[in-house]
Symmetry: C3
Subunit: 206 residues, 3 copies
């Protein structure tokens, strides 16, 4: 991967995920610190669990504090500016979020392969990186995690991550593999948003 | 311990715990991915916290991917087959769960003693291994964790884990200690299910 | 820092935080084990996340089991004695809690600087050490975490932690830095309790 571009996308994803935390906090009447915490866990929660499970410690935001600065600045700007989120076209945030998601899954796959060899684990680490933060955000805000319910969210991550490792298995370069996987995640997620796709849910007959 | 038998019981416990996650997911109308996530955290959540706290990283399911495969297969089979769980005799799942619990506590005690010497910590790690997954499952499903309320669940783990380390202290072999502890956990848990035992709860007078 | 005094304050903070977990458990009719779990996660949850993120494993309560003993004894005593908490003057617990908070933030800052150099991360680790346990406690008890809402709680930790690293930056001794930071956390928190201060909350206009 072109590491400058990748780093830019990573930072972009971090900011976008932080915004989604801030917007949820805005519905819960949290104080500014609560807002920053919710923004932070959304942005770095998934990568933190990934790094802890891999033993890649200190975790990534300790070794590179740029993530924390981006989150703090993003949260404060969001609090100051976006007090009327409905003025944004509705699709802006989901589309940004999908871009961040594609990047995060690819980063999770790539980082996990630095620490272990299994492609299965790499896909799982991609999913954790992409979805973990949103799950913690929803738990803290006392919601059943959105990604566990009927949205093609984690499913997009699984398919994107699988394409990523599939391309590596077929000996494509890291760069091609990353881009194919991230684009797949992005496109599937965008498609799900546009056509309101969701998987059939599993419910027990009682 | 006969390591083949132990491994079999471990895999059995993993599958049973995954099923309990799937069944809870079934009540919450999750999509298939949500079901697999809930099954996975139930099955490997406790051991993951244990390994992270001990510094035994990468955690166990990264170094041996058999656990993940078992969980995926179990969850998919459960979704396909068990759509009418009431047709099972009611005691089947709790009994299977108790077998898994006994094995998980013993495994937690044993693994923790590879990384540190304290018997107190070993018992705690046994309890975390046995109960941690169920607690995360309940938090994700937005329930007050079942094991924290009035069931002799964690209590069985504490007693079983204590018997395990007590036997080690008295110089019994690892094998005898493991079996005594696991059987104690199993029997206490089964007794609690059969006679609806629970400890007196602690409530503040207000 | 005078390490004996520090250790005493650390143990004091552990006990006080455990009590706050027990009191919440008392409202939820948990069994004695649930009470001890809630007391434990409140007392050691923050430090555990800190140590896992830093890679300081095994985490602190594994390498020094005194923390666990203190928690167990405190929880049992609290269950036995404090069944009528309203008989205590209302300010006793918040004041004790504020003392524990000051100590925990200072300890988090200090420990993190043994593992990495960034003052920003040190403040964050101080906040995690001080607030993490209470957040887990509230999640397990199914409440929106108190510290995320309108109390000058985490804000006190941020200011106290910043004064701590500010003093270090200005080449004051570890001891002076620790005491200034911890006192700042304590005083701000006490002031917030006395005058019912809270920060303006962030709410989205809809």
């Amino acid at each position: 991967m072109d590491s400058t571009l990748l780093y830019f996308i990573d930072i972009f994803g971090t900011a976008v995920f932080a915004i989604s935390g801030v917007l949820l906090a805005g519905r819960l009447k949290m104080d500014p610190f609560g807002v920053i915490v919710l923004g932070s866990v959304t942005a770095i929660g998934g990568g933190t669990i990934r790094d802890m499970a891999l033993g890649a410690t200190p975790v990534f935001w300790i070794t590179n504090t740029a993530y924390i600065w981006i989150i703090i600045i993003t949260c404060l700007l969001t609090i100051l500016i976006v007090r009327h989120p409905r003025r944004l076209p509705w699709f802006v945030l989901p589309v940004f979020d999908a871009i961040g998601l594609g990047a995060f899954v690819g980063i999770g796959v790539e980082k996990s392969l630095l620490f272990q060899d299994s492609y299965l684990i790499a896909v799982i680490m991609g999913v954790i990186t992409g979805c973990g933060g949103g799950i913690i955000r929803d738990v803290l805000a006392r919601e059943v995690p959105m990604v566990l319910r009927s949205e093609v969210y984690a499913t997009a991550c699984i398919i994107g991550g699988s394409i990523h490792v599939g391309a590596l298995y077929l000996d494509y370069s890291n760069r091609v593999a990353f881009i194919s996987g991230a684009l797949a995640t992005l496109i599937i997620r965008l498609g799900a948003i546009k056509w309101h796709l969701s998987l059939p849910t599993f419910a027990l007959h009682r």
